[in-house]
């Protein structure tokens, strides 16, 4: 087990290295940040000065090493469009996005998972039919449209729940539903189909032959086997949620990273773009690592294989 974790860890670090190299080169290939940073009428001396200040005249390897070194101590540079430290921006925005994504994820787990299990256990009956309608709705409504509909129904029509911004815990409900319904539906459907499979397996039949209660049969014997694919999807969904908040954040004016990414790209604020992409990639890579390790704990065949 120790070897397994160590191996996966090395793999993750290596992946992150390759990704950072890629981002570094890509940002330098797609345009000259100096032209964005300086006004059109700037002189050649000003260009040279800026180049020196940003270290853009040094050889690339040196720039790369400096960039990575600074990031390792939490220095992500300064946003050119906002004139504040990127780390400061991240500190402000990231918790909000995490909170929103977390709420969406909580919704997916708390609703999608049990509904999927119930749906499989009572297939063809009322619970199953309503759960499937709920899932189809979630997967067929585009989230910008869903967001606008929710906005029109609750704050505008019924006068309940805040229409936007971040104020008190109720303000997260609508953006979380907008963000999370799709994931809830995906998780529900996958849980349902894997549970159907495990519920018809011989080991579930044997569990019933033993005289175990239906609850033990479903949640222990069937669900623990269904949990493997469900867990994989759930983790992918989580990263999808964290990195996919742009629409929900925009519709409900939620002060997270989604809007930050958008404005950084529009303003060609390459320091911010660079930092956001590397942070998001790191989250993705180490998130996957966590899932792999959890997976191995759940599935003895991987652990010993």
């Amino acid at each position: 087990m120790g070897n397994f974790i160590l191996g996966r860890l090395l793999q993750a670090v290596l992946t992150l290295f390759v990704v950072s190299l890629f981002i570094f080169l890509l940002v330098r290939l797609t345009g000259d940040p100096k032209q964005v940073l300086l006004p059109i009428e700037a002189s050649i001396e000003q260009y040279a000065q800026l180049e020196k200040a940003l270290g853009l005249d040094d050889p690339l390897p040196e720039q790369y090493v400096r960039w990575v070194g600074k990031m390792l101590v939490g220095d992500f540079g300064t946003s050119s469009s906002r004139q504040i430290a990127v780390s400061q921006l991240l500190r402000e925005r990231f918790p909000n996005t995490l909170m929103l994504a977390g709420s969406g994820f909580f919704l997916a787990i708390a609703v999608g998972l049990p509904l999927g299990v119930l749906s499989a256990a009572h297939r063809g009956r009322g619970t199953d039919v309503s759960a499937r309608v709920f899932a189809i709705l979630g997967q067929s409504m585009p989230s910008f449209w869903l967001g606008i509909m929710l906005l029109m129904l609750f704050p505008v029509r019924l006068g309940v729940l805040p229409a936007g911004g971040k104020s008190g815990w109720t303000s997260i409900i609508l953006p979380a539903v907008t963000l999370g319904w799709f994931s809830t539906a995906s998780l529900l459907r996958l849980t349902r189909s894997t549970m159907m499979e495990t519920l018809s397996s011989d080991y579930v039949k044997l569990a019933r032959i033993k005289g175990l209660s239906e609850r033990t049969v479903i949640w222990k014997h069937a669900f623990k086997n269904a949990a493997l694919p469900v867990l994989t999807l759930a983790s992918l969904l989580l990263f999808g949620l964290i990195t996919g908040t742009i629409i929900a954040e925009t519709v409900f004016a939620w002060p997270g990273m989604g809007s930050l990414v958008l404005s950084a790209v529009v303003n060609r604020d390459f320091v911010v773009v660079q930092a956001l992409v590397i942070v998001i990639s790191a989250m993705y890579i180490f998130g996957n690592l966590t899932v792999d390790i959890l997976y191995a704990f759940l599935n003895p065949r991987i652990r010993y294989g």
């Binding site: 080991y203 039949k205 044997l206 032959i209 033993k210 209660s213 623990k224 086997n225 003895p300």
Partner: protein
């Protein structure tokens, strides 16, 4: 009477239409007795076994009949009572016992679970009981193997674990073994049958032994029921069925099954068993029967009593 099954019928309502893979079967079993059920693949043996334990997979349903255990109809029992019955009195070894162990739990855990349903034991004595059960099915160094996962064991060993699970209860009355040996090689098969016999002598449960292997049936069973297309077509003492079969299907089946200690040319039965969605109106074997008449094709024959314990459902059962 320990177990009496009367007119048991299982129905599947599917997109392809209605089918009755088990279509009104009846038999009985005394304490300590062994009943063999034989028949071609797909004739409904496993489904009958599932129906007796009320574990027919959806969308299948038991639509008719009675399953009397010590005179109580299990089909009328509540779900909770039925779980008690499964945990204490009736058990089953599935046709593919190797697939019947849950891959994500250690085997000791899975045996212990079966024990706790019928007995309240402290941790220590539970572990001892699990080891004892595993030793009983001759699993070597059982105390170390309880921590192993199914995929770490050989097929034969997993088979034995499934066996240990099936008689974990102290008050087992009926054990159904669904072709318990087909997945094993010959030497292991013989060992397993010995084990089964020994346990039955010990515990005294009634055994329903489903098999293709007429040799194993002859060795183990007191009586045999022959199934064809969802129905039992002949029942009788094992010797009689093997030596003096009356139903043409039984004869055909005996001719094509390999027998122990006998070198004989196997003659496969011509044709195929009928589609369960469209059973023929008369005798279901008529389309393949060499001596079928007009009557056979139009009317289903009732059981004809040949001897005290020997019945055959054939219009001409008394003629040969």
């Amino acid at each position: 009477m320990l177990l009496e099954v009367k007119n048991l019928r299982v129905q599947f309502d599917t997109l392809m239409g209605l089918s009755s893979p088990v279509d009104g079967i009846s038999f009985s079993l005394e304490k300590g007795e062994t009943l063999g059920i034989v028949g071609e693949s797909g004739c409904g043996k496993s489904m009958s076994a599932s129906a007796i334990l009320r574990l027919v997979p959806p969308p299948g349903r038991i639509v008719d009949g009675e399953v009397l255990l010590d005179g109580t109809d299990l089909l009328k029992a509540s779900a909770a009572n039925m779980r008690q019955v499964r945990g204490h009195y009736m058990s089953m070894v599935l046709q593919d016992p190797v697939a019947s162990l849950n891959p994500v739990f250690p085997i000791g855990n899975q045996v212990a679970e079966a024990v706790t349903v019928s007995q309240r034991l402290r941790r220590r004595s539970l572990k001892e009981k699990v080891i004892e059960l595993l030793q009983r099915v001759r699993i070597p160094s059982a105390e170390n193997r309880i921590y192993e996962y199914p995929h770490q064991m050989s097929g034969g060993m997993r088979q034995r674990v499934a066996g240990a699970i099936s008689f974990a209860s102290n008050d087992l009355k009926v054990l159904i073994a669904d072709e318990p040996t087909t997945a094993l090689d010959v030497t292991v098969q013989a060992q397993y049958l010995d084990l089964l016999k020994e346990l039955q002598a010990d515990v005294g449960f009634g055994l329903i032994f489903i098999s293709h292997d007429i040799g194993a049936v002859a060795e183990l069973c007191d009586k045999v029921s022959v199934m064809y297309a969802g129905k039992i077509v002949e029942t009788g003492p094992t010797r009689t069925i093997i030596n003096h079969p009356r139903h043409p299907y039984t004869k055909a089946l005996l001719d094509c099954l390999p027998r122990l200690n006998e070198v004989k040319r196997l003659e496969p039965i011509g044709g195929e068993p009928p589609n369960p969605f469209a059973f023929p109106p008369g005798c279901r074997f008529a389309p393949r029967c060499p001596r079928a008449t007009e009557l056979c094709h139009t009317q289903y024959p009732d059981f004809v009593q040949i001897d005290e314990n020997h019945d055959a459902a054939c219009w001409y059962a008394n003629e040969s």
